[in-house]
């Protein structure tokens, strides 16, 4: 093209091209800047969330100091607030959820990777994952209308009669059979986090090199032995990561828990009696709180955020370790 054009036009074309290159470079720079701004926004959001809550909670922190985290008092009348009971409730309900969800999720992953015939795996996996799609509030409504009466009429009285008098764990299962409380909330939480844990477990189980499993089968191992002695050790960190992921979810779940936990800020050893969690307390109280009360709620929000951040970060790190191992292999 350059050859056919007159000599005088050549510099113009060159100038034109360099102008275009310049324009492109500018556009590229702008484009890159915009994308980077969006990326930085994600980072800043996280820090912003944490800081805004800490800022909102400064009044409570100044008033109660570090004692806020160790006081079991939550008394809006006398303006005395302590975080111990909601923190305890949050941890205990999430732990109950884990006690149920971890073995069940492991069983589901086992079913989906080793037991079920191939044609069944896809549909069952999808169905379990649909559980994760159901909105939290519907778990709460189902829990309140269907599950709570069931627990109140059958499960709680049975626990009362059979476990209530045992030493050590007895006090966990005493109290009037209301059907609401940490046990119910924990159970429904378990159903809610099962899809998250089981899908991580299933995915990481599938990363185990076939040659490892086949070697074990060749030596005469049963399916269970392959899973327990080969698959699980190989994926251990990632499995724990998946469990932590579920734990993080359970800690911050709000609507379902708000319906089922009983919303009472009092210490009770019993899992059958009403209690509360950080998230449920915030959902209930935030719109009507002022001053120190609101500040305390925000400080609780900060605690929840930091705790879930740590748990989820640990989960991520553990999951990353497996993918790194895979990358190296």
């Amino acid at each position: 093209m350059a050859a056919s054009s007159p000599a005088a036009a050549l510099p113009a074309a060159v100038i034109d091209a360099s102008r275009r290159a310049e324009r492109d470079a500018r556009a590229d720079k702008l484009f890159r800047g915009l994308l980077a701004a969006a990326g930085i926004f994600v980072l800043v959001t996280l820090i912003g969330i944490a800081l805004s809550m800490l800022w909102g909670g400064r009044e409570a922190l100044a008033q109660f100091g570090i004692g806020f985290f160790f006081s079991a008092e939550w008394d809006p009348v006398n303006q005395k607030f302590g975080a111990l009971i909601p923190i305890y409730g949050t941890l205990v309900s999430a732990l109950i959820a884990m006690l149920i969800a971890v073995p069940v999720s492991f069983g589901i992953a086992l079913f989906l990777t080793e037991i079920a015939p191939n044609w069944l795996r896809g549909p069952v996996a999808s169905a379990i994952e649909l559980l994760a799609g159901i909105p939290s509030i519907i778990y709460g409504m189902w829990g309140l209308f269907v599950f709570v009466p069931l627990v109140g009429e059958h499960v709680a009285p049975w626990l009362n009669d059979h476990l209530g008098s045992w030493p050590l764990i007895g006090p966990l299962f005493t109290g009037p059979p209301l059907g609401i409380g940490m046990l119910t909330a924990g159970f429904v939480l378990a159903i809610m986090v099962i899809p998250f844990i089981s899908s991580v477990m299933r995915e990481v189980f599938l990363t185990v090199p076939t040659r490892l499993k086949e070697s074990a089968y060749a030596l005469g191992s049963t399916k269970w032995e392959v899973v327990w002695d080969i698959v699980l050790p190989y994926t251990r960190t990632a499995v724990v990561g998946g469990v932590f992921l579920g734990f993080g979810r359970a800690l911050g779940e709000t609507m379902a828990v708000a319906y089922l936990v009983g919303n009472s800020v009092k210490f009770t050893p019993s899992l059958l009696e009403p209690s509360t969690t950080i998230a449920a307390l915030i959902a209930n109280d935030f719109n009507e709180s002022t001053g120190l009360h609101r500040s305390s709620l925000l400080l609780l929000g900060f605690v929840l955020f930091v705790v879930t951040f740590i748990v989820l970060a640990a989960a991520r790190l553990m999951l990353l370790r497996l993918s790194r191992k895979e990358g190296n292999a």
Binding site: R32, A38, S52, A127, V146, T222, R249
Partner: protein, 298 residues
């Protein structure tokens, strides 16, 4: 286990071996049965919850549900204003969230992926995906609602957008990184500027994946209640003002299901049914897009 596979020379050893083998088989059987039971456990609760929603919800599904406003107690009505409010709030959230999310995801995949800041952002983003939604609601309540002294649909949409962003960032990032490097190189070597490469080559290749991410994000925010309580608040009337409180289906459900009025409870369950059907259809659609894309690549 090892002793079991060593050949046994005499009858006594053979008996021990048989017993051991028997025990291993029993343990294995038990584990398999428990595995099946676990899967069944999950399925039972899925169908139980869906059945409850369906049986309670169907009573309230009729034309009025979609054509009338939320009623006063003991009067008849529907959820029109709530459906509209949810649609508006979610739509704005998805638009804001997708734009920012795709942009940030592109930055991670194409520019910052291997730098330290990229690694940190990706890590933080993964955590934000699972962050408690109520905390996001609090954040928007402090930063927007309390500053402007006004509950608003827009504040609700911003809270939901913050839930959309991490989901979209992750899928965009993942999908772009799956696009083969040759495509970039081919386009760049033709002298196409990078922004054009991204917009016209990479996005086209990664589109089904990105759309899946956006659909999944939409499914997630449709049912979100907690972040809206402190931001969009509620409204018993039809409102189109983005700077005023607006009704939304989950918040109306939260209010109505706890009420003493049967008509309200029926409406709450009808809302729950519509919401669940919508959300499940969305996740199925997202899955279908992903699946079709996968098979067409194979």
């Amino acid at each position: 286990m090892n002793s079991a596979v060593i050949p046994a020379p005499d009858a006594g050893k053979a008996a021990v071996e048989r017993r051991l083998y028997f025990r291993r088989t029993v343990v294995n059987r038990l584990a398999l049965v428990l595995g099946c039971a676990a899967a069944l456990f999950g399925l039972v609760f899925l169908f139980w919850i869906l059945w409850t929603t369906l049986s309670y919800g169907l009573k309230g599904v009729n034309l009025d549900l979609f054509t009338k406003m939320t009623p006063a107690p003991m009067s008849a009505g529907g959820l029109l204003n709530a459906f509209f409010g949810s649609a508006v709030i979610c739509l704005i959230a998805i638009v804001i969230g997708s734009l920012l999310g795709v942009a940030a995801g592109t930055w991670l995949a194409e520019y910052a992926g291997n730098k330290r800041i990229g690694t940190v952002t990706r890590f933080i983003n993964d955590i934000l995906i699972s962050a408690p939604s109520i905390v996001i609601g609090l954040f928007v309540a402090i930063v927007i609602v309390m500053q402007f002294k006004q509950y608003s649909a827009l504040a609700g949409a911003i809270a939901l957008a913050l839930l959309v962003i991490p989901v979209v960032v992750r899928t965009t990032d993942e999908m772009l990184r799956l696009v083969p490097g040759q495509m970039r190189e081919a386009a760049l070597s033709l002298g196409v500027p990078q922004w054009k490469v991204t917009m016209q080559v990479l996005y086209r290749a990664a589109l089904p994946g990105i759309v899946t991410g956006i659909l999944l994000a939409l499914a997630r925010i449709t049912g979100e209640t907690a972040p809206l309580l402190f931001t969009a608040f509620g409204n018993q009337y039809w409102s189109t003002d983005l700077l005023k409180p607006m009704a939304s289906v989950p918040v109306v459900m939260y209010q109505f299901v706890g009420s003493p009025y049967e008509s309200w409870q029926t409406l709450a369950w009808a809302g729950a049914l519509v919401l669940t059907v919508f959300v499940l259809l969305l996740s199925l659609l997202a899955r279908a897009i992903l699946l079709r894309n996968k098979t067409s690549h194979d």
